[in-house]
């Protein structure tokens, strides 16, 4: 019943069973039960044959009825009569009595076979019901497994857990910071006392710096250093920005005896040679000549221009004093003079 029901309901239900057209458990159960029924049938037929063979002679009617009901041959029905020749009348009389009292009563083999068949059918149905129940339980379990009955609660729980984790991390960091501060405060309070009590001078005096330096291979240490990388990391501008160059320069100048330094430098310098070399390099004579000639030429030109303008002014003034017309007097010599003289009025 269960496989038939599954095959009929699965397409209609559209549930998980539709995705499982083959049910190996149900098939195996039916196979076992079918096999058991075949075996029981074979056993029942065996028992029936044994029961037929062990029947008494007086039971010929019944045997004949059974044989008739089971399709036995007339030969088989005649064999008991031949095997019991002594008293056929007595056995036939008892069989007739029994037949008369229980005319349709099945014999023990048929009863046993019926019981086995009923048992097999009951077992088959029970197994089918169990298989259907198992399938339904599997479907329900799958639905339960795939369904999250309380997603919001889970999300809230997850958020709470995350929040708690973050709060825990923050609390841990705060605690570490507080612990470090506390430790530094303690160190700040403790270290001065320790330093005042410790005789650092005595300790330093006991240290043999020379021996330490002798043990150090400074060449190897310096050779390991990547001076270029160190130099690239140094922010010169930032260092210079922090320096108070004015104060440093003033301090240096205050400590320096510039007069003595200058005197010493001058004593060591051959100023004459330096001056001669500078003059040779500069070609000072040529520079002086060029500059002086330029200045002289400019001054002379200015003087000449001023003289020309003054000449014109004086000439015009004299023309007015002498009642001359402009253009008649002070005409230049040369080609222009001829024209001017031609225009000169004749007295």
């Amino acid at each position: 019943m269960a496989p038939d029901d599954d095959s009929k309901r699965a397409p209609e239900a559209g549930g998980p069973a539709a995705h499982r057209p083959f049910d190996p458990v149900g098939r195996a159960t039916h196979l076992v039960l079918g096999s058991a029924a075949v075996v029981l049938g074979a056993v029942g037929r065996g028992l029936l044959r044994l029961g037929t063979e062990s029947d008494p002679p007086g039971d010929g009617a019944s045997t004949g009825a059974a044989a008739a009901s089971h399709g036995s041959t007339p030969q088989a029905r005649s064999e008991p009569a031949q095997s019991n020749p002594g008293g056929p009348n007595e056995s036939r009389g008892s069989d007739d009595a029994a037949t008369a009292s229980w005319p349709d009563m099945p014999n023990a083999a048929e009863m046993a076979l019926a019981v086995v068949g009923v048992g097999a059918e009951v077992t088959r149905r029970l197994v089918g019901v169990a298989a259907a129940a198992a399938t339904a339980a599997e479907r329900g379990a799958a639905v339960v497994m795939q369904h999250q009955p309380v997603p919001e609660a889970v999300d809230r729980f997850r958020e709470e857990v995350t929040s708690l984790g973050e709060r825990g991390g923050a609390a841990l960091r705060t605690s570490v910071t507080a612990a470090m501060d506390y430790g530094l405060n303690v160190a700040a309070q403790v270290v001065p006392g320790v330093v005042t009590r410790v005789d650092l001078d005595g300790i330093v005096e006991q240290v043999d710096i020379g021996q330490i330096i002798d043990r150090l291979d400074l060449n190897e240490i310096v050779g390991r250093l990547d001076l270029n990388a160190i130099a690239e990391r140094i922010d010169i501008e930032r260092i210079l920005g922090r320096l108070d160059l004015a104060a440093i320069t003033q301090g240096v100048l205050d400590q320096l005896d510039l007069t003595a330094i200058s005197q010493r430098v001058l004593d060591q310098l051959d100023l004459t040679a330096v001056a001669m070399r500078v003059i040779d390099e500069l070609e000072l004579g040529e520079l002086i000549r060029e500059s002086s000639s330029t200045v002289t030429v400019e001054a002379v030109d200015a003087l000449r221009v001023g003289g020309m303008n003054a000449d014109r002014f004086v000439a015009q003034l004299m023309n007015r004093i002498l009642l001359r017309r402009n253009g008649e007097a002070h005409s230049p010599d040369g080609p222009e003079a001829a024209d001017a003289s031609s225009r000169e009025p004749r007295p």
Binding site: A302, G307, A310, D311, F313, V314, P332, S341
Partner: protein
């Protein structure tokens, strides 16, 4: 300083007879040069005397006035003669951008230059005739047929055209 000086303008006046102010400036410069020369001459004499008689000490000679005047006049005549007969320019005229030529534009010879220098020194007031002259000529120029023209060295100062009628009329 020479920003206002245009070469074209300067070239246009080359060869024209110079006016009173320019010539006066040139004469003043020549007088300064003569004065410096005179002082140098006195220093040279005193140095020579000091070298010859160092025990007498260093002192400038104090010649009589006539002697000084005569020496200065001779010095001026020599100086002007050399300047005008050579290049036509004394130091003052060179600085003022002038040169002395004959009326035909030729260079002065030594004789005419000497005569002009003597007249220049003996009768300096003759220079004032430039103010009156219509062609900017002094008495020396009129008497010796010379002319003082602008000559900055920018070009060959062209010879002033001879104006016989004008010269005759002035005379």
């Amino acid at each position: 300083m020479t920003a206002g000086v245009r070469p074209e303008e300067a070239r246009a006046i080359q060869g024209q007879t110079a006016g009173f102010v320019t010539r006066l400036a040139a004469n003043i410069i020549d007088m300064v040069v003569l004065a410096i020369t005179w002082v140098g001459f006195l220093l040279f004499i005193s140095l020579a005397r000091f070298i010859a008689h160092p025990l007498r000490g260093w002192h400038l000679p104090e010649p009589p006035t006539w002697e000084s005047g005569l020496t200065i006049c001779l010095l001026a005549i020599v100086y002007l003669t050399i300047g005008w007969s050579g290049t036509g320019r004394s130091v003052g005229k060179r600085m003022a951008g002038l040169s002395v030529h004959t009326s035909s534009g030729a260079q002065l010879k030594a004789g005419r230059a000497l005569a002009r220098a003597v007249l220049y020194v003996v009768f300096p007031i003759g220079f004032v005739w430039v103010l009156v002259s219509r062609k900017n000529k002094s008495l020396y120029d009129i008497l010796l047929a010379t002319s003082v023209v602008y000559d900055w060295g920018l070009r060959q100062a062209h010879a002033p055209a001879a104006v016989p009628e004008a010269s005759a009329r002035e005379r």
